[in-house]
Symmetry: C5
Subunit: 369 residues, 5 copies
């Protein structure tokens, strides 16, 4: 497994002083691909276009249909700028679309919306990975922008293709809602995976607390904090949408946004829970270190307390005090024990008793668990 | 006892991208049972119905009575959908009802209320268990939904059956209040049990601080945090009800809601107290580990400090410096002590004095408590 | 002294599902006693009544006087219910009065006030003890309720009896203010005693940090948190009174309430200070444990570092390497030191030098303080 | 140096139940002294008066001049009460003036202001010392009250005496501003001294972390918290003044108050910084204790690891296994090493190699720094 | 590398009691230099002026051009006061300009703006260095003040010189925006460098946790807290600008300010992240100390546990119990092991087995990693 790091290399854009709205082609940008789903209640056409002009002409010809233009990859700035021109996107908004990182937000102008959502995925290696999804709505279209080809919107595409239901009858803002809702729903499985990961870490803590675990816990904590930074503005975004005028979001659609709002609050609750829990894991880890120290010290103390005094005792009887007085007579005061017939055996018994006594003492102190 | 875990397996719904309001039959859902209490000031009829149609017909025939339809178990989606249709429940609301987890909230529409409360119970094994209770009010009925057959509303049922008092004369919103109030009142015994549990943990801490206690404290802390997440929106819910128009809640009933509001604030106070206390228990545990370490070290140090120097002393007199010079004469400088008549006894006395001196030294340092 | 506990047995009422306003006679309730002080500018009559009817008749006859009816002990529910009926007290309010614990609050209805204050006392055993004082005002009377016979209002009674001053001329709401103010003033000596107690704990920490001190600090912290839970709503209560209409509190009295408001804010400052300080004491305690550990380790290390090498040295000269070769000749290589005339004395000197050297080394390291 | 204490003996007034506005002569109160500065654009008279009546008569005679009456010491209650009567000071305000501790606040009534500021000084012994300065403004006078004779207003007095500038032309509220501003400006040198003190503590931490340092850090932290309690309401006070009507503070003076507001926010920033830093110092201290423990343990472990095994080895060759079989023949199996010609020297070499090996091992582990 | 310090010598201005708006020439102030860029859509003139009068005359003659007067260095107070007089700058504002430290803020008066921004740079030695940039706008000019000659505005100067684009057509407030935006954009590379620095510290922590690292982490934390104190008011400043009237900032420019607002919020997110991370590093450091202690203790315990009992055993066989009874007969009970033919070898084997057993025991406990 990769060495866990607490600090994550943040991709911070460091261009300074460019004129606002100036576009950089991001490094390693994917080629731009254009997907269009056009539909009304009766018909649905889905196609990937090579040429933007062809696509735009097609949309122009079908003003009564609804269109979802899905732009993936920012490799071709020219196409992006054409789209911005044709769909009335401000250069600063386009800059936001292409930038590495924007917080979830919504901007409303003359009835059309510009929203930024963040799509999250979980992998045990990189933990949380979050990509930006930019959504624009117009009278009869929804535009989405994302930097790579994978996303979490397939369930929605299936619903559009399959169902002739509500989504194909409602105004396009409903589809914007549906996209936002699918993105938000995707947080739940990610959080479930995160929960499993935390669970696994707790298991490790109980089994064998390795040094790296703390790094791992702290890096999960960092990711939870990151999630928190994403999900709070997400909630604010939805709450702002809920307060918008009926021209932007018809009143009968508001209940759907309120539902999404509830979801965002639930996600916040879960994220806050995980934050608390990762803090608890740190506490547990630290107390585990101390507990291990206690155990190590107990082993040392038991061994030392038993054998150091015994060594002293046998040291006594290794002394060479002279049995003889200078005049050759026997000195009965110098170490008479050595000359007792049962001296050695008595000593062994005494030392055995001492050992048992100490063991009993430590047992009573509860040092053997 | 079950091994305590800090992390709790959260049941996170992971269905993504379904159309809003789409109903899943929850796994392990209980069969749907229907209980109806119909009453006015003079009469009360209470019955469990097998057939929803029969029940609905009965309600239709008695428009001047008040009805409490109590739906338990979400196993039969068809019945639930029929109820939603007949009682004008929005699909998204029905989805909320069936979902695993919703925060307490209230939604008001054209004078009728949709409220979600959470019923909590305490068991030493699982600590806090919380179930969702959904309440709808209409002109002459209250609908409640819950996922299993057990609840904490029996005291209220007894009151309705027994008393001919206020509850059978007041508008149905009073009954909604009564249900909410009983649910909230039930928090107090749960908190009392939690307090006992914390108390028991503190006892354990003083007696024999085992390793598992920290996990147990941290899992109680997690539950307290969970309670907090429930009770704060509960308070907000009641506060929103207090601000609602007199058509929804007549002014003379507001005082009852204010009383419930006071209860919710008291619960918050208690929960915050318990949070603080569980934090104190963690601090106490950690300092206990350190105190034990101190004690272990004291034993080691006392034993070592006494016997290691003594071992050195007896080691001296175990040396084999020669008493004889090469010329056979006696070398009076090499270890003359060994040849003193009282050498051994003097040494024993000296070592005894040393031991006593050290014991006195450690006693003065307060190492024997 | 009683064993300090962090957790305090909270008296949590666990009755569930009773109809709102239902009265329980609290366990161990004191007999209800009735004290009446009736006065105008010229006259003052003070009496304890056995019979409530007699008392009420007396009040009825003197509509132009002001009356302070002081009800102590909740043993006789019937009297309390009669008072509620005669003085227009809502059953829910009466329930609040009798309940164990209500936060400070104020309710205003048609110009009369219902206020709850908490009277605190400090004892070294139980630390903070808080009793509830409920105050009702009417056109010409003030009603107070308390659960036992002791209170902190005697200074006020003395002022009423003695002074013919402002308190006997002003509207009754001034008396309600005066009661509330006396209760709040009583927090200051309690805080002073708490400060002394904390001071004593700090002294203990410096002298001899016993194990129980942490429990004691943590239980003081708990009490401080409890005080905080009381005093913040107290402030809110006064702030609400300040915003009330001139009919309830005449404008020229507002300055008195603002003064009380300032006091409540001062109390909050002090309580927050004490909270901070008790946190500092915990930090100090924990660092003291570690410092003691350091000291213990130093003793062990000094003793071991000095005597373990010495034991090795004397061990060398206790070895029995043979002085004789197999052929009987002397082996000058095996332990020649033993046969030097000054061998023993030289060794003793060397070991003495080693000891001094080590002592100097540890002295330089600053291990002897 | 005085023994640092975390807890500071708080002077808490413990008089309870006195009638509001009742004045106590504070213990150890200074004699009341009266200083008057009267000036207009052309003239300035400054004098200390013995008699208040004389002073008041002088002020009455000069209604077109501006007066700054500076009252120092609260020893003579009669004078204070006369001033209160003549200058229309409410008894509760006078009580505030004399009281030990009031938070910074402002009260406005019919165009005149009553403000409380706190003057701080720093001494290494007592750290922060704060005195109360009460300011009243009237149509043509400013009244200030302080409990002792020293204050930080001398720079302002010099400005009034010296300059004929703006301060002598503007309305008196400008002078109130000037006083408040000087008091606030005085926080900066105090904070600079505090910064030096913290710096010195950090130096101590690096040199020789004594036990008392933690107490000292924690007592600085307490003082910082105290400052915070003073400076936040100071900011609120100024912000309230900024919102006051143009009759109280003319619009062209508001810019001066906004400047003072900026200063108060800067002070808050600094105080919050110091709070953070004192927390860092605590962390540093605690980690230093642990580092020292590590060092102590390293010494013990190195010495023990080297010499305990060696002692065992020399112990082996101190055993007395018999070289002779019972039949008198030589037992070549019992400790033959002792009889090798180079046995002793070989052993010494081996032990030397063992010592070097261990030293290398610990060196590689980085235990010698 | 310089010794890291947690406390940073704060430059706190300690002048007290000066009249508001009084100017001090800062110590070590740079000579004042004047740079003027004058331009319209067609022409651009850029020049450094020696004489302010000449410069002002030039500006007066070209009322239809736009001017950016860039004042660097506060050494010449006279010039600054002339500028203040000519461009209508209040003395208090000029005082703010020259002062060491002002929080970011904006003041608006009659359509012109006074803004303070802080320019930050990162150096590994001093970490964050922040300089103040003061901006004034007028009908056709922008004034900037900074204390030294280096700044981060060069990219903007290049844009003005090069592009004939939007910046030379828009009203001057757009240029004020552009300056503010460049300053803010400069935070991103500074944060990237800070991230690298934190990263390096984490690396050090894993390799060899030296004592100084904690100081270094804590001083980074201090800098992050400093950044936070700067960036939050920066955000508030922009948010205030966003709410200003269309006369001050035309509506079509608001979108640019909103973009800058988004940037400030992103910076806040990053700064909060770094704060969290530096806290995690402290936790990691502390747990590392404890882990090292554990390792040290393990070495000691393993060595001691193996060799102390062995020393005892060999001590036994070094005792001198007499083989002979007083009558000269052999005492077969005293240490018979010494006289066994295979005694020594058996003992060596037994001790070897003991060593292996203990090694296995510690291996099973996981003490060898």
């Amino acid at each position: 497994m990769v060495k866990p790091r607490i600090l994550q290399q943040n991709k911070i854009s460091t261009k300074v002083g460019q004129k606002p709205g100036f576009l950089f082609r991001p490094e390693n940008a994917f080629d731009t691909r254009l997907f269009l789903i056009s539909f009304d209640e009766f018909e649905l056409v889905e196609k990937e276009y090579e040429s933007y002009d062809e696509l735009f002409a097609y949309m122009q010809q079908r003003p009564h249909q609804r269109h979802w233009l899905d732009v993936r990859g920012y490799g071709n700035l020219e196409i992006l700028e054409n789209i911005a021109r044709d769909f009335n996107i401000h250069p600063l908004q386009l800059e936001d679309v292409i930038s590495d990182y924007q917080r979830p937000k919504v901007e409303e102008e003359s009835g059309s919306l510009f929203m930024i959502s963040r799509m999250v995925t979980f992998t045990p290696k990189k933990l949380i990975d979050d990509d930006q999804l930019s959504i624009f709505t117009g009278p009869n279209y929804v535009l989405t922008f994302q930097s790579d080809y994978e996303d979490c919107l397939n369930p929605l595409r299936l619903r559009i293709r399959g169902g002739k239901g509500i989504i194909r009858k409602r105004p396009v803002v409903y589809m914007a809602y549906a996209i936002m809702d699918v993105v938000l729903d995707h947080y739940f499985p990610v959080l479930a995976e995160m929960s499993d990961y935390l669970d696994e870490l707790e298991d490790c803590l109980f089994k064998q607390p390795k040094k790296e675990i703390l790094s791992r816990i702290l890096s999960v904590k960092r990711e939870i904090v990151k999630l928190r930074r994403i999900i709070w503005p997400e909630r604010d975004k939805i709450s702002e949408l809920l307060r918008s005028s009926p021209e932007v979001i018809p009143d009968d659609l508001k209940i759907y946004f309120r539902d999404t709002y509830d979801h965002s609050v639930q996600i916040i609750d879960l994220v806050e829970n995980y934050k608390e829990m990762s803090g608890s894991l740190v506490e547990l880890y630290l107390s585990n270190i101390n507990n291990r120290m206690n155990e190590i010290m107990k082993v040392l103390t038991i061994i030392s307390s038993i054998f150091i005094p015994l060594s002293f005792i046998v040291g006594i009887y290794g002394m060479n005090f002279s049995r003889e007085n200078p005049d050759g007579s026997i000195n009965y005061l110098n170490m008479p024990e050595l000359y007792q017939p049962y001296g050695y055996i008595t000593l062994l018994f005494l030392m055995g008793a001492l050992i048992l006594g100490q063991i009993y003492f430590f047992y009573r102190k509860g040092w053997f668990k």
